[in-house]
C-alpha cells in the first residue's frame, strides 16, 4: 500500500517526461501542473468541476484536473495542452477562429483531441456529448464546433 503524508515526493509522467515533485497529498493536479511545473495551459476557472478549463488527459481520457489529486495521478500518463503540438484540432481552431478571449480554449482543445482520438469521425451528437463538459463564457460555441468538425474526417 502506498501512503503519502506531509510533504511527499512523487513522480508524475507529464507530456512523456517523468518528473519528480514534492506535494501535499491534498494538492490538486491542476495546482501542481500550474504552480510546480509552470504548465499554465490548464486554467483554474471554477475549480468545481463545472467549466472544463482545467481539462487534461489521464491515460488519454479527459479529466478535470481540479477534481484530481496529484497523488492520484501517479502511474498515469498526463497530457496537457503543452504536450499537444500542431494537432488537427489546434489547426482547426486556428482556421475556424474557434476562440474569442481564449481562457477556455486549452480545455476545449485537450477534450476535443481526446474525442478525435476515440471517435475519428464523430457525429454532431457525439461532439455535443463530449463538449458539453466545457464552458465558453464568450459563448463562441459555433466556432468551436466548426473547428472540431474541420479537424475530423467525414462523419461516422
Amino acid at each position: 500500500m502506498i501512503t503519502y503524508r506531509g510533504q511527499a515526493a512523487i513522480r508524475l509522467t507529464v507530456n512523456g517526461e517523468v518528473r519528480e515533485v514534492v506535494v501535499r497529498p491534498a494538492d490538486t493536479l491542476l495546482h501542481v501542473l500550474r504552480d510546480r511545473f509552470g504548465l499554465t495551459g490548464a486554467k483554474a476557472g471554477c475549480e468545481n468541476g463545472d467549466c472544463g478549463a482545467c481539462t487534461v488527459l489521464l491515460d488519454g481520457k479527459p479529466v478535470k484536473s481540479c477534481m484530481v489529486l496529484a497523488v492520484e495521478a501517479e502511474g498515469s500518463g498526463i497530457t496537457t495542452i503543452e504536450g499537444l503540438r500542431d494537432t488537427p484540432v489546434q489547426r482547426g481552431f486556428l482556421e475556424q477562429a474557434g476562440f474569442q478571449c481564449g481562457f477556455c480554449t486549452s480545455g476545449f482543445i485537450v477534450n476535443a483531441h481526446a474525442l478525435l482520438q476515440t471517435h475519428p469521425r464523430p457525429d454532431r451528437e457525439t461532439i455535443r456529448d463530449w463538449l458539453e463538459s466545457n464552458l465558453c463564457r464568450c459563448t463562441g460555441y459555433e466556432g468551436i464546433e466548426k473547428a472540431i468538425a474541420a479537424a475530423a474526417g467525414p462523419r461516422e
Partner: protein
Amino acid sequence: MIAHNLVYHRPETIGEALGAFAGAEAEGLKPYYLAGGTEITTFSRRGLITPGALIDLKTIPECRVLTRREGSAVFGAGLTLNEVGECPFFPLLSEAAGIVDHTVRNRLTLGGNIAGMLPYRETVLPFLLTDTAARLAGPGGEREVPLADIFSRRLKLKPGEFLVQLRVPEAEAGLPWFRRRRVKQSRLDYPLLTICALAARDGIRLALSGVFDSPVRSPEVEAVLNDRSLEPARRAETAAAAFGLRARDDQRGSAQYREMLLLRGLEETIRELGGEG
C-alpha cells in the same frame, strides 16, 4: 486549492483498505473512502468537509470488476460512469449512468454516486428495481446482502464499511425499461425528476429521484400503478399521492412544479410500459 492537510492511502487489497481506515481512526484522523473524488475534492476545497485521511479504493481489483457470471451481471463500485454507460449488461443502468458531463463521467464512479453525499444518487434507481445483492467490506469482514435491505433514503453502511460490488440477476437486467429525466434548464443539472421503471411479469416497477429528498421505490405506489381496475390517468394520480412524501421546494423548482412533473412522468411510464390495457 484544498486548504487542510490530509493523509493519502492507496491500498491494493480490501484488507489493506480496511486496515488504513482503522489506522486513521486510531490516529484521530477522520477517514473517508475515495473513489472518483468528484465530491470529495470539491467539497474539501469549499471547506464543507475536512477529511484527515483518504483511502483510495479505485485500484482495488474487486472494485473494478465488470463481468457476467452465474446468471448475474456484476458491477464493481469503482467503475466510472462512462464504463458503466458503455456496458450492455443492464440497459437501464447504462442509460441512468448518463448524468453529469462526459469528462466528469471519466472520474465519477458507481459507488461514489450511490454512497456519496449528494442526495440524488440516480444510478441506484435501476438497482432498486431488481433483486440486486450488494457486496460490502467492513471491519467485521465481507458480507453480501440484498440492496433493498440496506438502502433507505441512502446506503446504510456500518462504520468503516464500503461498497465493493453490486450483483444483478441477468433475467431482470434485460427487462423492458423506461427512463424519464426532467431538469430545469441544462441536461447537466441535478434532476427535478428522474424516473426509472422496468416492465416485469408482475407489473411495472418504478423508482425515482429528484422529486423528494432521496431516491424512493414504494410497494404502495406500484400496487396502484398496476391496478388495472383504474383508468391510467386515475392510476397515475393515485400513485403520485401514494408516495405520501413532501416534494422538494428549492430554486430549481417548486414543490408544485415537481408534483406536476411526477404526475406526467407516471402517466408516461404507464403508457410506455404497456400498463394501459
